[in-house]
Amino acid sequence: MIDETFIEKLKQRFGEKISGANLENVDPWIEVSPAGLVEVCRYLKEEPAIAFDYLNSICVVDYCETDPKKAAKAKWQPHLEVVYHVSSIRHKTTGVIKVMLPRWKDDVEGNIPELPSVASIWRTADWHEREAYDLSGVLFVGHHNLRRILCPEDWVGHPLRKDYEMPLEYHGIRGR
């Protein structure tokens, strides 16, 4: 589904908002800038020839290395990747949309990065975004009910971050 002509068409339509693509990977992906995410997603869903009407999953991959030796060797800068797996029931096709985010907003540790919510496009994004917020720490702006979904409401930190540390104690329960 995602090939060179497809990317070319998207770039003509959205310009800078399509910030890149990878066609060599097993599942080729489109990279979208955070500002253009909602617009591009709406187009991908509503354009009849593409019709990505089904959101499979939202997943956050944390590129961060806590071991300084390995971090020096890593080929990437620390960042977060938010990955949207979408598919079309009508055309039986699948696609991958990616957004790159800094690990912390304005480089202030503890200040989680922001991304516009796509829950208005795919209803199911509601829960998937809550999960991504809860476990990986991405603030979905415009989400109507962005609360923790798996962890308790008063839990500190986002467990799927690579530098997350299990608390020593939670309400009198030993953690580590």
Binding site: N25, V26, N56, W127
Partner: protein
Amino acid sequence: MSNANHSEIIELDVRTDEMLVNMGPQHPSTHGVLRLVLRTDGEVVSEAVPHIGYLHRCAEKIGENLTPRQFVPYTDRMDYLAGMNMNLGWSLAVEKLLNYDLPEKVRHTRVMIAELNRIASHLVGMGTYGLDLGTFSPFLYAFREREKILDLLEWVCGARLTYSYITPGGVTADLPSDWIDKCSQFLDQFEPQIPDYHTLLTTNAIFIKRTTGIGIMSADMAIAYGCSGPVLRGSGVDHDLRRDGEPRYTSMYEGYEFEVIVEKSGSYPKDQVYPTVPDEAVLGDCWHRFYVRMLEVIQAIKLIRQGMDFYRKASGDWGTPIKLATKLPQGEAYLETECPRGQMGFYVVSDGGDSIPRRARARSSCFSNLSVVEELCRGGLIADIPAIVGSLDIVMGEIDR
């Protein structure tokens, strides 16, 4: 009678104060721990909010610290009623990343095992659904047959619930020599019993009253909420990954003949031996979701029978499981398979040079299927909630991360 009518009538009749009611976390229809917070007005539910996260076994975090083969036993514990299907999903995703080809025999073994497990899982779904609605015998009948399937699965891998049999690169061992004959005997014995289930549930007047016209989910709603499996097909969406999925998965079913169970133009196709849709049933209600599962069992039996023939003729061996610490190439692969409860997706990300993935993600079908509860229950009666939640056939282990 639809949900909307219930609430209108009752609103005119009795008007009481609003009340918050906690349902669960030990409600029998959820095989575990789900809490529903209901806002009720008399018998009518105006809001039902599911609260999840009572298990939280950190499956994804563990996946980031183990090699793909070491992670296989953890996938069993996700959907513990269909462990084989979970193994299969994870194995295929890893194989997709490694670009690993399999011998012919493995393919047929996997089809047989996965479909057997699908029957076992649907039997639990069906039996416990009867239990939710207050009938006990179908549960016993379903479990009696399930035990026989578990015996067969125990024979191939030694475990009855957490199998870890299908593994990246193949299966852990070949099928025992006369396993196929025993399996065939089981199918011959099991198939004539299916009409009993239809007598006990599908055509039972009380069952029809309790399930038809309740929790109606339109096709658009099912797609918008990301529902999958029997829940999606019960709403009339013709989508099954065994036919429409990725080549790596659909090629497993190449040469097999089966039907995707979905209602077409007013009735279920071909299976006219089984009961017809009752007049009260509306497409997308609890009855339809239940019925899709019942008919899928028949299709699974067909698939296993074909698998036996193919397996006997197939050449090659049972595959070589990848090494415990096989290096993963740089890249990422996402693959979804059709599990009994819906589309189960696994996502493996590797940054190269290491045998431990950077990210191991499980996208579960129950997670999306459960999110729709809030909308389905709105305007229904308290007594309808077990019927609605049960019809989604939720396993909490899968929702957990």
